[in-house]
Symmetry: C2
Subunit: 335 residues, 2 copies
DNA sequence: ACGTTAGCCGAAACCCATTTCGAAAAAAAG
DNA sequence: CTTTTTTTCGAAATGGGTTTCGGCTAACGT
């Protein structure tokens, strides 16, 4: 490996001067600069990030944290999209991404310890288990953290506008003549689960529709197809079933459609369904799912920019709630 | 930040001794060990990975490389699954994951330079563009690299058994009475695209079926739904269309089904379809897709273990070709 | 001709750990 | 009670950079 000492030796200057060249110090003459730069390129010099970090306390590394306890993890298509845009945005600003886990060298460690060990400049929490003590300790630390779908007021949180999304969905159904609209809710302990349920309730009120407790059925903690199936079955067994369903996630909606098929019913003929997320499968399925699209690309980019802002200004920007969009496809019909 | 010097000061021992404790040197008495360990825990000591790496030349970091030029990237569900298992396996062995990009500090750099800059111990190339010169230079370097779906003979390559997968699919169709089976092929410059086409051709021969050049239609470079749709349309326009299609990817298969719908045809009634990959949507779609499942979890774990083996033994294990599995669902019928 | 000033450059300290090797102390051998 | 061996410890060098601060030279002003 070529070091600044090698370049110093070859050019006849001191390591100090070589270092200064790469750090754009002004007290180096143009001639010296040129000679050092030339030989550096010639010798294939590449700085050593570890040595640099050791000195500057800045690693140019952003930690990516998945609180895996929920068991969902990176697999969910939502995260692939977010991660992709986080990566692109961060890289453009000179930061690299590293996964933060709960162990170091194969031995259990806290997230905070891991962050300190690797001296990451900040962390993006993509999937947060609100009850996790390790996560809470990290948030209490001085390490800047941006969280996805964790809160809509706490500084450093980025979320999609679930409230508005639910309203858009309900409005759409209402416009189609539906008045009895059920909700298959997501995991009650997740922020989006809570938020979408809240959005459903507020949306009903705003549209002047009566609320009916029995029309809210939990679809299990994991936003899974199977959970949606079960919930739809319950709804169909109601004395007075709904004519439409707003599911808290596309997988739940897909499960609901599955349940309909089992009962020899069909969407949208017998039941209108709206999902949430717009995962890839939503447009592939028949009937194609009408759903609320989260802009994952925007979300990742925003999270990355927020974090970098916090890292470089020592001040965490306020929470961002991103707009969502109604994607009308085939799973709803006019009554 | 607490350093070994702080602990040395407090305990009265030298930094050397403190370091030795954490590195399990035998020349430290049990008493000393205990005292140092205690105060370390008390003070919340956490080693600094950068200082350590600087000295030992080992970063305990594995680079993850997506050759994004193809435009697919992390978004594809396949990678989410692989990445997940790579992460779990690597972490269990004490390695962390960092993404390798083609820039450093916001300025363009080669993959190799990035790897040296961060001194990663090895790299897993998840999506390789065979023509990329930067990638080739990385492979020529002394940094251990494991590649997914890149080759099936080169040491350090992990791939699913496309040949066998195609045979399984063809055999299934053959068993159902199909004799005229088409192939919608994937990007010709990708390894899996080539391999699956080869598997199709060999499979036909093995089953004693006649090959017909016109039955092989390229589905475009990106394994996309739209590409599959176009290809199916072409097949339908053939004077003598096939009765079944083996698509080189599930998305292609899904696109093919879409094309059938447009012509008021239906799978499996009018055309049997087999996909490849078993992405999430495959089981969600109607008709649910009969497909060849790649074990992404196994693939990631294998890749990680192979790389770590190479890192720690200086010797790259031979290529691994992983078995695949036929998943029979609803998209094929008996003729 | 002399004091100022600005422009360039480098010595040395520092960041935090690892590792070698020698020395001191303690234990074992004689 | 020496001598030898074993334990236990630490000084110092090392890794590759950054940053402060002081020194030297050349140009400038008068």
């Amino acid at each position: 490996m070529i070091t600044i000492y090698d370049i110093a030796r070859v050019t006849g200057y001191s390591p100090t001067t070589v270092s200064k060249v790469f750090n754009n110090y002004s007290d180096v003459s143009a001639k010296t600069r040129g000679k050092i730069l030339d030989t550096a390129k010639e010798m294939g010099y590449m700085p050593n990030s570890h040595a640099r970090t050791l000195m500057t306390k800045k690693s140019w590394t952003i930690g990516i944290l998945f609180n895996e306890s929920s068991g969902v993890g990176i697999r969910h298509p939502f995260f692939g999209g977010v991660l992709d845009s986080v990566k692109k945005t961060a890289e453009a600003e000179g930061y690299d991404l590293m996964f933060i886990s709960d162990n170091i060298g194969g031995k259990t460690a806290s997230y905070l310890e891991h962050c300190r060990f690797r001296s990451v400049d900040g962390v993006i929490v993509m999937l947060a288990d609100r009850g996790d003590e390790g996560l809470q300790n990290l948030l209490k630390s001085d390490i800047p953290c941006v969280l996805l779908d964790f809160d809509d007021e706490r500084p450093g949180c980025v979320s999609s506008d679930s409230i508005d999304g639910c309203y858009l969905a309900l409005k759409h159904l209402h416009d189609l003549g539906h008045r009895r609209i059920a909700h298959i809710s997501g995991g009650g302990d997740t922020f989006v689960g809570q938020q979408r349920r809240l959005g459903y309730e507020q949306g009903l009120r705003r549209l002047g529709l009566a609320a009916d407790e029995r029309l809210i059925v939990p679809g299990g903690p994991f936003f899974s197809v199977e959970g949606g199936r079960q919930a739809m079955l319950e709804l169909l067994d109601l004395p007075q079933p709904p004519t439409a369903v707003l599911a808290a996630g596309d997988n739940l909606a897909l499960g609901a459609i599955r349940a309909l098929e089992e009962r020899n019913l069909e969407a949208p003929r017998d039941m209108s369904i709206v999902g949430f997320d717009d995962i890839e499968a939503a447009s592939l399925v028949r009937p194609a799912l009408t759903t609320i699209r989260q802009d994952v690309g925007h979300m990742g980019a925003r999270a990355a920019r927020m974090l970098i802002g916090a890292i470089e200004s020592e001040d965490m920007p306020p929470a961002a709630v991103l707009p969502v969009e109604l994607i009308v496809r085939e799973s709803c019909r006019r009554l």
